[in-house]
Amino acid sequence: MELNFTAAELAFREEVRSFIAERYPPELRARQDAGVDPIRLDLDKEDYLRWHRIVAQRGWVAPAWPVEYGGTGWTPTQRHIWAEEQGRARTVPIVGFSVNLVGPIIYTFGTPAQKAYFLPRILSGEHWWCQGYSEPGAGSDLASLQTRAVRQGDHYVVNGQKTWTTLAQHADWGFFLVRTDPAAARKQEGISFLLIDMKSPGVTVRPIITLDGAHEINEVWLQDVKVPVGNRVHEENKGWTCAKVLLAHERSNIAMVQRSKSALLGLRRMAARIVEGGRTLAEDPAFRRKLTEIEVELMALEFTELRMLSAENAGKGPGAQASLLKIRGTEIQQRLSELALEAAGSHGAVRLNRFVGLSGFEQQVPEAVGIVDSYLNGRKTSIFGGSNEIQRNILAKMVLGL
């Protein structure tokens, strides 16, 4: 047992740190410092792509991919270090739906032509992907989806509605689960996986404004959209297999420990600036205890992630345990944003406003900028990617055998 990174791993971490320090765009950093939160995804498309392209040039955009398709061949520990250092530096995230979600499906199930065309364009950032899974009637129960694809010669005709589609307004392509066999015995068996050009006639993207005022998610309407059969991944009616593979894939940084550590640091700075009754909030025993408790919870998550990583290094693959990281990671993120809101008190009511400038309170306590919107937006984390209740179902079934 050894807690320290090896000399080689430390050298690698140094390399990653200096890369980020030297290459992260200063104008992006400036905007983030002014309260734009990359996790809220309220940057412009170009902001994401700028960093994506810089990382792609370095060859680090898809570390977990097989080397032949552009992966790095890193160990799980190296992948972890890379993810953690990005979190520590609060970089904008790499466009995840492209790299982490559709990429692995294409290299696992795609045809040689699909791999040759799509994979390089994912790496370069030329194609921005969105995920067409959820529907108004199919959320946690995804397999009950109704969007219909009917084969007509060398193409499918697709009709239906997808929803909660993150950043579809930026997307060049979308990967969709559609029903190709409504008569299948099990609802999971009649589903196919299609790649759809978002510029195809009949595709309409409509914004959904969330409670924090952001345009992050969308409805996607599909009306008689023609999709070439060559854009189907894997066999017809085998789409569920593709979707399931994702669940076991690339869980690195799902816990977002470093981002939460940064948030806790900001929270401590904030508590030291806010005064009530002649003492700072940081000196208030009740608030202090809350900070102590969340710090311990964050440590417990950090070392649980490292322990799982160590098991993965030792050849014991990651399993459903990743659900634990998702549950605890999001619970802690939400707790931290709750505490920030508690700290700000009624001053925390200010909507992040990019036009009028900062409130008087925000000028005194810069860490408080945008906290209420981050709190509101952050409710999503226990809902998306399989709600935390679904994650508990997964753990109950796959790990505890219930």
Binding site: M1, L3, T280, R289, V296, A300, I327, N393, L400, L402
Partner: protein
Amino acid sequence: MDFEYTSEQQMLRESIARYLGDRYRFAERQAMVRSAAGWRPQIWQELGEQLGILGAPFSEALGGLGGGAVESMIVMEEFGRVLAIEPWLDTIVIGGGLLRRWDHARARELIGLIIAGQLRCAFAYPEPHARFDLTDVATTAVASGAGWRIDGFKDGVAGAPFATHLLVTARHAGGRRDPRGVAVYLVPRDGAGVALREYPTVDGSRAADVRFEAASAELIGDADAGIDALEAAVDEGVAALCAEAVGVLRCLLADTLRYAKERRQFGAPIAANQVLQHRMVDMYIALEQAVSMTCMATMMLARPAAERRRAVSAAKVQVGKAARLVGQGAVQIHGAMGMTDDLAVSHYFRRATLIESQLGSVDHHCARLEQDIPA
């Protein structure tokens, strides 16, 4: 960064697990704790002679097997699984920890006796007014001839009835709560001026209130060095206790899962109810994090004091909370069966409950973390 055991550590784990599986079955354990003596001295003898593991965490130079805190973690987790009441924590970890830090021929001699199974300790630090504070010591030590004379009162000294010697904290100088002036003394349990009032504890073990009246004692370490060595040894004890908790909690969860799958109500196993599934998942999550924090704290024991303190206290907070959540959940999901003395689960719950506050409660260790973080 590596949380895996070496093959030697794996072998240690297997051999102790095999031995305990054979010699510490639940029914036998219950017969033992209900007997007049309350324990079986030959078990400790066998651990020393037959398994030869009492030296596992000591260096080879001291006559040990060359291991360290990880070896104690392995043993304590296995002890937790069978609810062993053996004095590993007080003797090997705290006693051994104090002696290892004392560079003296007598220390090496005493370690030799520990490894041979002839010296068994109970850590006599608690006083009625002091709770978990190691510095708040009213028991006094006065130099007397070649040795020391101890006067005072300790209450709730866990395992004292099974010990050959007590490790007593006492003050020879300084005012109340002054860390300087507190040191640790070795007192033969059956010596003159040592009076024990023994009683059972709810986890099947025994404790005692101990009154010292001019008891002869031997100083361990330097009288004026302060409590750094004591604090370090107790931190090692806390980490070992966390490991015992992990063993206890693993059994609580495993028993609960098994019971929930077997027990049928409304025509189905109660495990089919989502509300129970999610509660068991939360027990699993708490346990997994307790395991991680225990490994982390164990590996951090050799770090500088500030890092060690933070790691150990954080681990005890996590483990204390997990002990409550898993323990209470296990009893609840067993229903009325969980309330019975017959079922092992109630005994694991009792041990988990005592571990919550042993060597410092959740609140105590939160406060200790806060001492080290400037507001």
